[in-house]
């Protein structure tokens, strides 16, 4: 890969271990020496056996887990920032403007209607409220979530409906970098097609995407290449 605008997100020697103080200080290394770069418009699928650390890598890339070693470079508002070294406020700013994450499960905020949940990240970035709500509405409809559900909090929704809310929230702002953790896991074929369409549109718009796709059919259709995450040798 060349330098310059050739990547949107890049890790250098990223490593992560967990120290379990409640279990005698046991140290569990999960990731080591991860060098991954993703270009604008590129979709990279993480591969590797279950338990190899794919989800841990995703969480590190989002700043949800602290990186133990190495750097996570992002282009944020014209600057190159190291997420691994960024303080809490910088991570929040990066998440607001640059970095989106669709987790497997929606963390439901009680009593907040679906439409507000989806529009919230847009509003946080300065989109006028009405425009944000309109965009949220359109995206939810595209994901086949009928308008009668938009005013309800998603707490009582089915798993598939909650996942579509989650997807709408992740895709609505058009982040330059998007992390997708099993985005189609509980969706039917029709909705899977919608998600594939969203991913393809995001790629065309220049979004760099890193995903975990257990559904190989989806993976083969959206991923430009695979990046293998291998298990670390057990600690001595």
């Amino acid at each position: 890969m060349t330098m310059g605008m050739s990547w949107s997100i890049r890790t250098e020697g990223l490593g992560k271990a967990f120290t379990l103080h409640l279990q005698g200080g046991t140290r569990i290394p999960v990731l080591g020496g991860v060098d991954l770069g993703v270009a604008p418009g590129e979709c990279v699928a993480l591969s590797g056996p279950s338990g190899a650390g794919k989800s841990t890598l995703m969480r590190c890339l989002y700043g949800n887990y602290g990186a133990g070693e190495g750097r996570i470079l992002l282009r944020h508002q014209g600057e190159i920032l190291d997420l691994a070294a960024a303080d809490a406020r910088a991570v929040r700013a990066i998440r607001r403007e640059t970095l989106g994450y669709v987790s497997q499960f929606l963390r439901v905020i009680p009593r907040v209607p679906t439409l507000e949940i989806v529009a919230e990240p847009l509003i946080a970035r300065g989109t006028p409220r009405e425009a944000a709500l309109a965009a949220a509405r359109a995206l939810l409809l595209r994901l086949n979530l009928p308008a009668r559900l938009h005013g309800l909090p998603p707490a009582t929704f089915s798993g598939g409906e909650q996942q579509r809310v989650n997807l709408a929230r992740g895709f609505a702002p058009g982040y330059p970098v998007l992390l997708l953790d099993e985005p189609t896991a509980s969706l039917d074929a029709a909705n899977r097609e919608v998600v594939i369409g969203l991913i393809e549109a995001a790629k065309l718009a220049g979004t760099a995407i890193i995903g975990i796709f257990h559904d190989t059919e989806v993976r083969d259709r959206v991923a430009d290449r695979l990046f293998e995450v291998l298990p670390m040798p057990a600690a001595a």
Binding site: F18, T19, L20, H21, L22, R59, G63, N64, Y65, G66, D87, A88, R89, A90, V91, R92, A93, I109, P110, R111, V112
Partner: protein
């Protein structure tokens, strides 16, 4: 990035042999919600009282930046300035609503007091504002002339929040705001606080032992133990990837935080 609203460093305070605060540093920026978590006796309430100027530390400083950009040392500013700050630019929500409300003054009067303290002299305007705030905290505006001691605990706490926020403070201190309430009432109150904080762009320092509440409300978390901040950072990272032994214990002892 903006300059911090409140900046504390080197705060220490002992109660006899017990270190209530041991070299604590902290800053909070406009619009930021910071939760201080820890078990009782960890010093979190003392920290809140010291930061808000209600208590003086033995060592260390707390600096506040006013809307004009001037920085003041909280513990050197004098009582008049401190009171002015507490009734306009700052707010304090007590765990027990009785500590933050006048129980023999009507709901409308409780909300109106802060407006009048900063110079509001139009009865109709004060009343309209009080009505709007009652609606905002989901209290029937018909009860504007009702006495708080006839209200439920949850309503009292919501009234205290309305009374505190009516002057649009920039920084609000909250001491276990859901502490004395039933679980279902707690959830409703937390949602309300979350919504108000986001709508008003408030900076909030909230002390809580409720990890779930901290996750819902706070952008950033400080974990205190024995008067020290043992860990701090982004809320979801501290809770999902705790580094310190005590934080791991705290998180492990909470079900599905």
């Amino acid at each position: 990035m903006s300059a911090p609203l409140l900046q504390a460093s080197g705060l220490s305070l002992r109660f006899g042999a017990i270190a209530a605060l041991d070299d604590v540093a902290l800053e909070i920026h406009p619009g930021e919600v910071v939760a201080i978590v820890g078990e009782s006796g960890s010093g979190k309430t003392t920290l809140l009282r010291v930061l808000s100027g209600l208590m003086r530390p033995e060592a260390g400083t707390v600096r506040y930046r006013d809307p004009a950009g001037a920085v003041h040392s909280v513990h050197d500013m004098g009582e008049a300035a401190m009171r002015r700050l507490h009734r306009s630019d700052w707010g304090f929500v007590h765990q027990n609503p009785r500590d933050g409300l006048r129980m023999r003054v009507s709901a409308g009067g409780n909300i109106g007091e802060r407006l009048m303290a900063v110079g509001a002299r139009h009865y109709g305007g004060i009343r309209a504002e009080a009505t709007a705030w009652l609606q905002r905290v989901e209290i029937d505006p018909e009860r504007i002339d009702g006495m708080p001691d006839k209200f439920s605990g949850g309503m009292q706490q919501r009234l205290q929040i309305a009374r505190t926020l009516v002057t649009h403070p920039r920084l609000v201190f909250m001491d276990e705001p859901t502490g004395g309430l039933d679980v279902s009432v707690q959830a409703k109150l937390l949602d309300m606080i979350r919504g108000l904080v986001a709508d008003l762009g408030l900076a909030v320092l909230i002390v809580t032992h409720d990890i779930a509440a901290a996750r819902l409300l706070a952008h950033r978390l400080l974990v205190m133990r024995h008067g020290r901040v043992v860990e701090q950072g982004l809320t979801d990272r501290v809770l999902d990837d705790p580094q310190h032994e005590y934080t791991q214990l705290l998180v492990a002892s909470v079900l599905a935080a």
